[in-house]
Symmetry: C2
Subunit: 205 residues, 2 copies
């Protein structure tokens, strides 16, 4: 690409650093912003910078927050004794969107994955163990991705908490709503047979 | 989407205003930026704001510039008497990328389109007419989109310049390189038959 303005070239380069945005898309975005009011483009730039500079992470659950504690941890209507353990912010948002969970979260910041060099020390596991004992938590619900890394992480934490007697559960795995039985993989089908539910439970949900 | 941080929500909203970026993509971009260094995110925001606030348009050809004149108009190696008339910046960049044009440009800022309320007065036509007479331009090459609006614009400008005797041309229209004759539309095929070239010209190109 040949630019007749270095300012424009710099802006295209910045956009092109973002994931999934190539140079052609970056140019399209810059040409769009060039047509906007100066004030609204300044607001765009400031909002992004400010977000990164001022955002904080909840000291309790490691979720994003605008203060020392996130809005979920400080909500008196939520059960502090029910902790849902997730990998990242995305899962917090996905679960919040269902409006079916009334407890609090603990964001691990990843899962144990020795091949990627991620061990328990790189994750917020120590603070979770501390929370469980300090806050008299009653139940830990694991909502991690159903793969080996997720299972390893659950196993590790479960071992560490075995002495406390806390109830440890994991979200149900089975056939997705609207899914076709015929096209479900064997592993999922086998697990959903093992974990079959009494019909009353099904009707209640 | 449920956000536990207003700063994050504001950033997602700003990204989602951009064309072709929905809220899910906006969230993905924000989560990516959250993992970057504060300095690099600040640089991103500043570069975008600065681009919009400091960019200028060449007083001669209306191309984007970092000063009063763009780098093409001030380049002594380019023929000032050969002016390529284009609709927008995009076309300047597309033609520059071919490295086959050694003249200068004139960016109209659009084409005449009465249905969209765009008449000659909304475009940089007056300054083009002025340039042609002031600068002893020898040739005007139109590189507008091949549609009714483009043709109307060419016709209008040509009429206005009829008395000057300047040479007026338009970029060749025909079958694209690598295109299949069979799938070419009738209009293009008919035009490319009318404007057939002696084989020497073809070989030279």
């Amino acid at each position: 690409m040949v630019f007749s303005s270095q300012l424009m070239e710099a802006a295209v380069n910045e956009f092109a650093k973002l994931p999934g945005i190539g140079r052609k898309t970056a140019l399209r975005l810059v040409l769009h912003l060039l047509k906007q009011e100066k004030e609204s483009v300044s607001l765009f730039g400031e909002t992004i910078s400010r977000m990164r500079n001022e955002i904080r992470f909840c000291q309790k659950c490691h979720n994003v927050a605008d203060a020392d504690r996130c809005s979920i941890c400080t909500n008196p209507g939520r059960k502090q004794a029910l902790i849902c353990v997730v990998e990242s912010l995305r899962e917090v948002m996905a679960i919040e969107a269902t409006q079916q969970f009334n407890g609090v979260y603990h964001v691990l910041g990843g899962v144990i994955s020795p091949l990627d060099g991620i061990g328990p020390d790189q994750l917020h596991i120590e603070s979770l163990l501390h929370r469980v004992t300090e806050e008299q938590a009653e139940e830990l619900v694991f909502a991690l991705s159903p793969n080996i890394q997720g299972d390893t992480t659950i196993y590790y934490i479960q071992k560490k908490l075995a002495h406390t007697g806390i109830r440890i559960t994991t979200i149900a795995r089975g056939i997705a709503f609207g899914g076709e039985l015929e096209y479900t993989d064997e592993m999922t089908l086998a697990r959903s047979l093992q974990n079959r539910l009494p019909i009353e439970n099904y009707v209640n949900h």
